[in-house]
Symmetry: C2
Subunit: 362 residues, 2 copies
């Protein structure tokens, strides 16, 4: 590519120095306020900067200081609204620090080449925030030793058996809150439509779900899903195939819940009259869905800001292996879950009323 036609030379620090009749060193000192400069010369330099319209060339500065002032955010999918809010949080912290955010998708880095690691080694980025827990193991291994490498943090998702510091929501806690809430509404048989198998979030939410069910003596079943709308639609069929249908369904994401509610309504079942549905994430639309969906709110902005702060801390203070920050989640009660006694009173009896009060231990 030929960009020759762009040349329109900007004033350099030399020009400023010449105009202010000082050395480039002095100009630089004024610029970075690193050491003292006499008031007179400082003003002369400031005036010269004004006159010439000088702007510091970041590339030159970066070369000299050995920093790129760039942070790379690695997402599984740029098109995902969930992550875009996290990015917003990251940006909020980075920008005031003079750091720019570069976003890229993990899929553009195949496991074989070292492109990802190169981003750091090439000084293309000072640090990386990874929002994808599904990186292939060999790629994670290539990232280096968490005890040595201080420029990588995980956010939202993470990788098991790895010590890179991370920020995440309290996923298992969220699932437990959901179960407790449904229990308080009288539900004693809950089905969990999970996220994709082996996903770390899926695992955490499943664990929380089962722990709470066991503790409260709630009968539970499980349907393997995914986080998509379609997974919710598919789950509906499996729901009908269950021996004894649940009175409530806890979905691993709001999107699943929407797919489920939508598919149920096509089958003539209404939510929450016939069955309660609970989501996870509190995406914007949940509030406006019909019915509005009860869910676990994740503070996506905070996830981003905390991750960015964590990265900053690593850059300043060195590696923080094993450090995990769990952000609290919040239960949002809306209309998609109803009290079982209420619905029994106002609607025909549940078809699984026989399971009420039945306790199950694993």
């Amino acid at each position: 590519m030929d960009f020759g036609h762009l040349s329109k030379k900007a004033p350099t620090i030399q020009d400023v120095a010449a105009r202010a009749e000082v050395s480039t060193a002095t100009v630089s000192r004024v610029l970075s306020q690193s050491s003292s400069v006499s008031a007179g010369k400082r003003q002369a330099v400031l005036d010269a900067i004004d006159d010439t319209g000088y702007r510091v060339n970041r590339t030159a500065r970066n070369l000299r200081t050995q920093r790129s002032h760039i942070v790379l955010a690695l997402l599984p999918d740029i098109g995902n609204a969930f992550f875009s809010q996290v990015l917003q949080g990251i940006e909020k912290v980075l920008t005031p620090q003079g750091l720019a955010l570069v976003v890229a998708e993990t899929k553009q880095f195949n496991a074989t080449d070292e492109e990802l690691v190169n981003y750091l080694q090439d000084h293309r980025a000072d640090g990386v925030i990874i929002l994808d827990g599904s990186l292939p193991p060999q790629m994670v291994a290539a990232l280096g030793d968490p005890a040595q490498e201080s420029r990588i943090v995980f956010a939202c998702e993470w990788v098991n058996n790895s010590d890179f510091p991370s920020v995440r929501s309290s996923n298992s806690d969220g699932a437990m809150q959901a179960v407790e809430y449904l229990y308080s509404l009288g539900h004693r048989h809950i089905t969990h439509v999970t996220g994709p198998p082996n996903n770390v979030l899926t695992l955490e939410r499943e664990a929380g779900f089962e722990r709470a069910c066991n503790r409260l003596g709630v009968h539970y079943t499980s349907i393997t899903g995914g986080f998509s709308l379609d997974a919710g639609v598919q789950a509906t069929k499996k729901l009908f195939a269950l021996d004894s249908p649940p009175t409530a369904v806890f979905c691993a994401s709001d999107t699943i819940a929407m797919g489920l509610i939508s598919a149920l309504s096509k089958e003539g079942l209404s939510v929450p009259a016939d069955v309660s549905v609970f989501g996870f994430d509190d995406i914007e639309l949940s509030k406006h869905f019909m019915p509005p969906i009860s869910t676990i709110h994740q503070d996506r902005i905070a996830l981003g800001t905390r991750a960015a702060c964590l990265l900053l801390r690593c850059l300043e203070q060195g590696p923080q292996p094993g450090l995990v920050e769990q952000l609290p989640v919040q239960l949002i009660a809306r209309d998609s879950c109803s009290s079982l006694t209420d619905s029994v009173a106002s609607y025909p009896p549940m078809n699984d009323i026989s399971t009420l009060g039945r306790n199950v231990t694993t």
Copy 2:
């Protein structure tokens, strides 16, 4: 910030040159394959690169070549799912060109300071793709003369009275298609819930809507809105306040349509039985909403790829003032709009049946 602990010096081109027993110039020539190097030396260099694990320092290269290999995307709101797909398209074109994508929100640049322009002047970015048509005029003015400035393009949105090249969907055409479709279903009174006032997209869609209505002799009314869910909810009240309710509503966005449908259902009105609702954008959820929403599909990925290609072209060939690329849109018929004769047949008569066939000219 002290990043001293990060120092672990990477091999430089000097190290490679020494090891291969050639000059740095030769190494550089092998790297950039710009001019011929004898097979023997080439292999020696290649081996040395392998041995040392050398990686080119982009910052140094950027300084020397006067390019940053970075493109800045400016969004009104990073958290918006619509834009994140456009970004995906941009990325798809940029990455193979060795260009990285930096995203930033316009609101972080206030109109008074020149931060935005500085991005280009500082060599922090080689080019900028602006996805925000609501930039304050003085900021647009600060961007420079479109006939001179070859590093700025607009995408999705644009600024009136400005010659910067841009890529956009055929908004007015989409609105016209929507009207024609509703007309073909028998609707003769349509209300348009618009986007935010003065927005370029709002204006285009309004224009297309009115043109089609006038041409077909459709009675139309208009409610000022916004692109949000809430705007759809608010519009519902105004809809009821209309002298003669329409048989169909054309919304300037799918989100408006969802808010509207949701609010209508709370009022006991069902879509499309009582009123047809048409959207715009074809966001992912429209397909899964209840009912699935008829809409105008915008190819968001293509919007991104074309914008990136346009920027590349500007960078290579110089300014392209006034160049506008309009991407075709596509009508997607789903369940939220029904044939008027059908619904008249199967439901109680519309309350505005008196307006059928009534023509209005502006």
